[in-house]
């Protein structure tokens, strides 16, 4: 078997992997290999042809392909080694990576550090169990996006969309503009999972109805989808029988959630967080396995690619320190706990020494929409400080800084916790 040695192996050539490669190179580790299973770099961005990317990172509005192209160019300028059409089959705790492609066959790479950047995948029809037949025409929103924007096929003419996540909203507009009749977007919850901008510019602009508290309760048709049955749901999200309605449709798009893709992480004995579906990491985005880092949607599902880039920069910076053996950990980690109304916080623990950042960003999501909130930080139950925000929405990740100074002031700290609560009397 063909054997290679690399300082840094990055699994996945999407936005997380590309930004990680660029950062690691610029910080002095140039012996890098990116492994990508597709025929080109960019991950999911090349099919996200809409604008709205890069407002935080580049301070200008780009489309998905443009955002990807900038990083593809950066990686090319640095002559970072890439293997395309290459599938990683296994990753071991000792940082041996096993991959296969058509030209080299099966090969092994011994890495000093590994960055996991495999992204996520869509929840499918099988995962949500809709009653009815199983005809053609029931596909995920991302699959429809690939057909429409990359391969040049219109997936259908009469479309219903289940789920109001961003991909569902974006595809509603895209299919409408390509000539399909988009009849409705159904959302089980009483609020949308997508960005407000997308609700306005994708649905309201084109008079596409958004039916909140609605779900698909039946799929009809043999061979090809003929119609879907939709129903209103009650407070417990159970369909109300009398409200069932039939909508004629040849296509049902599902935009019902994304799942971090961690099959390889599990093989390397990386411990996952039940809430995020991704690895448990410290503030350098290192997993429980020393020298294996994770960033991007494999770690937790992001709403903005800009945060993926920032997270990849963090992971790569610490992977470089790990390779340079400039990496020390405290004997006991400080736990980071998600308190009231917080569904998760990344990182889940703080344990690195000699962190040159003044502030550690804490990424979190609120568990339900709230207005006029205080985001409160506590150290072992003692309130540190709080941030005030006019609103918090589950669809929009919140990043707040944790000052290193504060950590230094508390000896033997066990736990940092965060809660998001509505201000009283408002």
């Amino acid at each position: 078997m063909h054997k290679l040695e690399k300082k840094l192996v990055i699994i996945g050539g999407g936005p997380a992997g590309l930004a990680a490669a660029k950062t690691a190179f610029d910080k002095g580790i140039t012996d890098i290999l990116i492994l990508e299973r597709d025929f080109e770099l960019g991950g999911i961005l090349p099919q996200c042809i809409h604008n709205g990317f890069g407002l935080h990172h580049f301070k200008e509005e780009l489309t998905g392909p443009e955002y990807a192209q900038r990083f593809i160019n950066d990686v090319a300028e640095r002559a970072i080694e890439i293997k395309l059409n290459t599938m990683v089959l296994d990753v071991k705790e000792n940082k041996k990576v096993y991959a296969v492609n058509k030209t080299e066959g099966f090969f092994e790479i011994q890495a000093a550090a590994v960055i996991l950047a495999m992204g996520c995948r869509e929840r499918t029809a099988g995962a949500i169990g809709i009653p009815g037949t199983r005809p053609a025409g029931v596909i995920t929103a991302g699959t429809a996006q690939r057909y429409t924007n990359i391969e040049g096929y219109l997936p259908g003419k009469e479309v219903v969309i289940l789920g109001s996540g961003d991909i569902g909203l974006i595809m509603a507009r895209r299919l409408k503009l390509e000539g399909a009749n988009v009849k409705a977007v159904c959302e089980l919850l009483p609020y949308t999972g997508g960005l407000t901008r997308n609700v306005v510019q994708c649905l309201e602009d084109y008079d596409i109805p958004l039916l909140l508290n609605h779900t698909v309760t039946g799929i009809k048709g043999n061979g090809r989808l003929k119609a879907v049955e939709i129903s209103e749901v009650d407070k417990n999200l159970k369909p109300i029988p009398d409200t069932a309605k039939i909508i004629k449709a040849d296509t049902l798009l599902l935009s019902v959630g994304l799942i971090p893709e961690n099959e390889l992480s599990k093989k390397a004995n990386v411990v996952l967080d039940q809430r995020t579906g991704g690895p448990i990491v410290n503030e350098g985005r290192e997993t429980n396995i020393p020298g294996i880092f994770a960033c991007g949607n494999v770690l937790h599902v992001h709403d903005l690619v800009d945060w993926v880039t920032e997270e990849a920069e963090i992971a790569a910076s610490w992977a470089v320190k790990y390779i340079k053996k400039d990496f020390l950990k405290e004997t006991a980690a400080i736990k980071v706990k998600a308190g009231q109304n917080v569904s998760y916080v990344i990182p889940q623990k703080i344990e690195l020494q000699a962190d040159d950042r003044k502030k550690i960003p804490l990424y979190m999501r609120v568990s339900q929409p709230l207005t006029a909130v205080n985001i409160n930080l506590f150290a072992d139950g003692e309130k540190l400080y709080s941030f005030s925000e006019p609103f918090a929405k589950p669809g929009e990740m919140i990043s707040i800084p944790l000052a290193q100074k504060t950590l230094a002031q508390h000896e033997n700290l066990q736990e940092i916790s965060v809660e998001i609560v509505e201000k009283e009397g408002e």
């Binding site: 780009l62 990807a68 593809i72 609700v199």
Partner: protein
């Protein structure tokens, strides 16, 4: 005729419901916004809403059959269906580079249709 419309402001992610009363292009009253950006947004949405249009163009002999494009600046929302018709008829040849102008000054808007990625020629 005086008309009323309720808009969701997109100036920030808060998404205020802004109600605007207007007659033609004349704004009578704006309510529900919690900051000046909200009234400016509502005004523009009534007087002249514009959007960047991202779509795709057919490519001959490319590594992929389509290349993504966008209008170089926002164009009036109402002419987007017409712009789609025009862009749908375009056909270009690979290779394509990001920023290549595919069509100049679409519908006299001053906006060009530009490619948003590189697309190499399909290898035999």
């Amino acid at each position: 005729m005086i008309e009323t419309k309720t808009l969701t402001c997109v100036a920030c992610p808060k998404g205020c419901e802004v109600t605007i009363e207007y007659e033609g292009n004349e704004i009578i009253e704006i309510k529900g916004n919690t900051c000046p950006q909200g009234s400016a947004y509502a005004r523009e949405e009534i007087v002249a809403p514009t959007r960047i249009l991202p779509t795709t163009v057919i490519v001959k002999a490319g590594a992929l059959p389509l290349v993504p494009v966008k209008t170089s600046k926002a164009i009036p929302l109402e002419i987007i269906p017409d712009a789609m018709e025009i862009i749908a008829k375009l056909e270009i040849e690979a290779p394509v580079k990001m920023g290549d102008v595919i069509l100049k000054n679409i519908l006299e808007t001053g906006a060009d249709v530009v490619a948003t990625r590189n697309l190499p020629v399909l290898k035999a």
